[in-house]
């Protein structure tokens, strides 16, 4: 029996005058949260809009829950909850009006869950959207996406501009969502801490290209920063899979994305005195990946 991926992109291209999405391959299975990380202008929003059918790819294949997008976007969109940083609610209407509007469209709308979220997110249902704070507006948008109980959540920078408490509320809710194994979340952000907190898969995007995509534990386990003291006239040996190396006087740093004991052994054999082998945060890994990608490989 074959299982259908939640989201599958292959060879997706989109060309704009000043930006190009290049040959994007992406696969997200049900029951997972994928963090989609990239600097501003990397192509995260463009990719998500293509998945939603809001913009059409120039070439490539997009499939959501087995439905081809954009041709079968209607069938796909019944099962997608979408919230994005640049998506606004109607200022003149109340949150309650928005809830009723969504309820009139989605038979899957869950009233009890919507009311629970309203209380949990501390959003007044009878207040017009223009009277809400930024955080309340963002959370109201998420409520509308969540309460229809979609199989896939596409969240484009959902935590941008939120205070730490609101961010935690939102992230906790997302963790609850994927407790249901049939659901999946694609979550874009340039805040790596948020992504690190909730995602089990990570995809890095830069300048319209996916530069790496793996499960989070593999990412964190495979990256190391090695600090060592180099002997006089130290000649840096050839090291496989090293993304950057710096020699500053006698102190040197090597960063690698596929750490193994052979790296420290090679350095020690060349007279280096290892001072520390440190784990890296997702943010440090991301920066290393981006810099390495922009340099065209290892420094």
């Amino acid at each position: 029996m074959t299982t259908t991926s939640a989201i599958r992109l292959s060879g997706v291209n989109k060309h704009y005058t000043h930006f190009q999405l290049n040959d994007v391959d992406l696969r997200l299975e049900k029951g997972h949260i994928m963090g989609f990380i990239g600097p501003n202008g990397a192509g995260k929003s463009t990719t998500m809009r293509i998945i939603m059918g809001l913009i059409g790819a120039d070439s490539g294949h997009v499939e959501v829950l087995g439905h081809r997008v954009p041709d079968e976007q209607v069938a796909a969109k019944w099962n997608i909850g979408f919230a994005s940083e640049d998506m606004r609610l109607y200022k003149a209407a109340t949150v309650g009006w928005h809830m009723n509007f969504m309820k009139s469209i989605y038979p899957s709308w869950d009233d009890d869950y919507a009311l629970a979220l309203l209380s949990r997110f501390d959003i007044p249902a009878d207040l017009r959207v223009k009277g809400l704070s930024h955080g309340q507006r963002v959370k109201a948008g998420l409520l509308l996406a969540l309460a229809r109980r979609p199989q896939i959540l596409l969240l484009d920078e959902p935590t941008t501009g939120l205070d730490p408490v609101a961010r935690t509320e939102v992230l906790n809710e997302l963790i609850d969502v994927v407790a249901d194994e049939d659901r999946a979340v694609l979550f874009s952000s340039h805040n790596t801490r948020d992504v690190e907190q909730i995602s089990d898969q990570i995809t890095f995007l830069d300048r319209g290209r996916i530069i790496d995509s793996r499960d989070k534990e593999t990412f964190l386990d495979s990256w190391r920063r090695i600090r060592f003291e180099a002997p006089a006239n130290f000649d840096m040996p050839e090291l496989a899979n090293v993304t950057s190396s710096q020699l500053n006087g006698r102190l040197a740093t090597v960063t690698t994305g596929s750490f193994g004991p052979e790296i420290t052994e090679t350095l020690t054999n060349h007279g280096a005195v290892i001072q520390s082998v440190d784990n890296m945060t997702l943010e440090e890994i991301f920066v290393s990946e981006v810099m390495s990608s922009r340099d065209g490989g290892a420094a």
Partner: protein
């Protein structure tokens, strides 16, 4: 057995109806106010005084024009500029269905206001002695021209997705109203009967009316065709 997906796929009509009701909800108060002003203007037209008639007719034409402007900006242009379009387009609809909903909301909304104003105008011409019956064809042509201009402005707003082009089209067509009315009045087959005791629906009047209706139909068809070919919606 019907799956949820099967049920969902039968719901585009429900969604289109909800989108139309949504647009009308946001313009309900100004539309009611314009309707009241329009009826007031029509009553003013019936006062047996040339100045009152002139003020009433200018006010009536202005209200119809403003209704159109408010509808197009309130439901089409602002949806894009205020970034509510991504939320709507994330609903399970195609862009053609979205466009159909916009056309129904706008043309329908305008038609309601327009029909009331047309009915009041016709009723006044038929019942008030100071208004000659010969004015009827001219009045119908003038109000239908406003309808055609509104649909063209709506089409430009939806197809171009540009506030600037919408304003340019609106300005040109609205400035053109007085020129058009003068032009129609100066046509002998129309102008000579305007002050007469009977409404003369001659070939010229019917031809002009037919062209106006054709413009409305073509503008709607072109809008739907253009929207269905678009690949990028936001």
């Amino acid at each position: 057995m019907n799956t949820l997906t099967d049920v969902n796929q039968t719901r585009p009509a429900v969604i289109i109806r909800q989108l139309v009701l949504k647009d009308w909800y946001f313009v309900r108060f100004p539309m009611a106010a314009y309707l009241a002003i329009g009826i007031g203007a029509a009553i003013l037209m019936s006062v047996p005084h040339q100045t009152a008639y002139l003020i009433g007719s200018i006010l009536l034409l202005s209200v119809v024009v403003i209704v159109g402007i408010h509808l197009v900006f309130g439901t089409v242009t602002h949806e894009r500029s205020q970034q509510t379009l991504p939320m709507i387009m994330s609903l399970p609809i195609t862009f053609t269905q979205y466009s159909a909903a916009k056309l129904i909301a706008n043309v329908g909304g305008f038609a309601i206001a327009w029909s009331v104003l047309l009915a009041v105008t016709v009723a006044l011409i038929l019942t008030r002695e100071n208004l000659p019956l010969g004015l009827l064809p001219f009045a119908v042509i003038a109000l239908t021209e406003l309808f055609a201009a509104f649909v063209v402005i709506l089409a430009v707003a939806m197809i171009s997705e540009s506030e600037a082009w919408t304003v340019v089209t609106m300005t040109i067509l609205n400035i053109g109203i007085s020129i058009f009315l003068n032009l129609i009045g100066s046509i002998e087959a129309i102008g000579t009967h305007m002050g007469g005791p009977t409404a003369v629906w001659n070939g010229t009047a019917l031809l002009i009316l037919g062209i106006e209706i054709l413009i409305i139909v073509v503008a709607i068809a072109v809008t739907l065709a253009a929207q269905s070919r678009k690949k990028d919606f936001i």
